[in-house]
């Protein structure tokens, strides 16, 4: 099920990127796409009833851990996504300063 949610978010993000003409909305679409992707990565390692992959004194003898690697990967992907978003917003500010609008259609160049 988790995968379906992830794919729907991915597609929503892609749809937003293709249809939106506002710079901020494009950045939001990019974020939705990234969230969908991150959810997809997590879903790869997850299974029903799996434990968090942490060894404690209460861990049973044959623990049923979920795959920890996708979780590590998603952490990296999130950080990168934040960096890209910050840069995108900084560029959006520059675009607004230069053109006085955030709408791509009103800028007169592409």
């Amino acid at each position: 099920m988790l995968q379906f949610a992830a794919i729907i978010l991915l597609m929503l993000g892609l749809y937003g990127l293709l249809t939106q003409r506002n710079v901020i909305k494009i950045i939001i679409s990019l974020n939705i796409l990234e969230i969908g992707l991150n959810l997809f990565i997590i879903s790869v390692g997850y299974f029903e009833g799996g434990l968090a992959p942490i060894f404690t004194s209460e861990t049973p003898a044959n623990p049923n851990f979920v795959d920890p690697l996708p979780q590590a990967l998603v952490l990296t992907a999130i950080v990168i996504g934040v960096g890209t978003t910050a840069l995108g917003l900084a560029l959006a500010r520059k675009i607004y300063q230069k053109y006085g609008t955030l709408n791509l259609d009103e800028m007169g160049e592409n």
Partner: protein, 463 residues
Amino acid sequence: MSAILLIAVPLLAAFISILVKKVSPYLLLLVSLFALVYPFFMDMSDVIIGGFDSPIGINLVVNKFALTSLIAVNGLFFLVVAVNIAQYKKLSSILLVALAGLNGLLLTGDLFNLFVFIEISGIAAYLITTTNKKPLQTFNYLVAGTVGSSLYLLGLIILYNMSGTLNMADMATFVEGNGMYTLFPFLLMFIGLGVEAKLLPFNSWVKGILGHSNNLSGAMIASVYATAIALVFGKLLAGVFQIEGTLALIIALVLGITILAGEAMAYASTKAREILLYSSIAQAGIVILLFTVGLGAWATFFAIANGVSKFILFGVVNRLTEEVGSDEMDQLKGSFVNNKLIGVSFTVAALSILGLPLFFGFVVKMNSLIGFFEPDFVSNLPGGNFIFPIIILVASVIEGVYFVKLLTKLWYKDSDVKVNFTPLFKYVVVVLAVALIVFGLFQGEVEELVASLINPGGVFIWN
């Protein structure tokens, strides 16, 4: 001494350079010189990170291919920085991050790690292109690049789910037995990397970025980044991807159209920078084509020769544009009459891309084409052994037309265009042009270098 220093030292220097802003340009010069010299002295053995042996841990692959590409990319990087740093002191920290990212790209043997380095070098590239003062175009580049790397990651995760590994060599063995199932993830990864490598349907950002490039960003993106990305993409296509069936057809179409459309658009352009940027799209297509069909060793040198030429071409044209205020060919008419040395070097670089004898470009182009007709060559792309050599030759003819057009304009006799080049820039450009001629004359030595990239079984070494 371990190869990891090539990534660690620039990153450390990037942090330090934020603290001590005044010395950061010198730090950048020092570190990029270090990155150029260090590959000659490092141990030729793979690096294991964190004590986990590959395929479980991340590893850095150090071999002849990595060494060749490191020397070429870091050499070009150092020259770009040395020539331009006085003008762009503020970018020192970003350029150090870019250096770390590029070295990581060339060294890593892990597919997820590759994604991280693509993003690091990508973010540095977006920041470098902000110096164009065209925020909208940079924004387009950012969106295209981010979507591309997201698609790459999506494909990679699907592959991970199937194979349980992220290591390139391990992945290659898995793919060999399961070619059919890997078609979709490979297509996603191909599109993702195609964005950065400027392949045709995914390269809408190129015109905005290189068409408005300045001294730094033009040479950086068209020469250094293009070489690095082409080599990495090629490494994956030659080593990891299993190209067959539908995927082969799609890749063949994308590459064929990239080459021909790139050349056609260059032919139709009247602006000097646009001619060069469309030409570099076509060149990227040719390099990736050569990697795909298994002529990886020559493709490596094709990419390097192209990178050196593009450094000269973009460097000179951007400097002319800065002084003249326009990059229309008619405005630049006769720029070389007063700058004969620069003009000759520019001509050498253009003719080398074109593939005229005497120059490095000829050696690589001819040998790549000969590779198609070797008796044991089997094309894995539809179209067999003939269509792609024909495409490359047709592309060369079109290149010939527009480069000669460009050169005759720039050498036009009566002109009052006066452009001053700094002595350092002149020196670097002339040295690179001489290098193109030297490599072109000593064909035997180049062939030996290329042969060292091929193992006794005749297979291109990539891991």
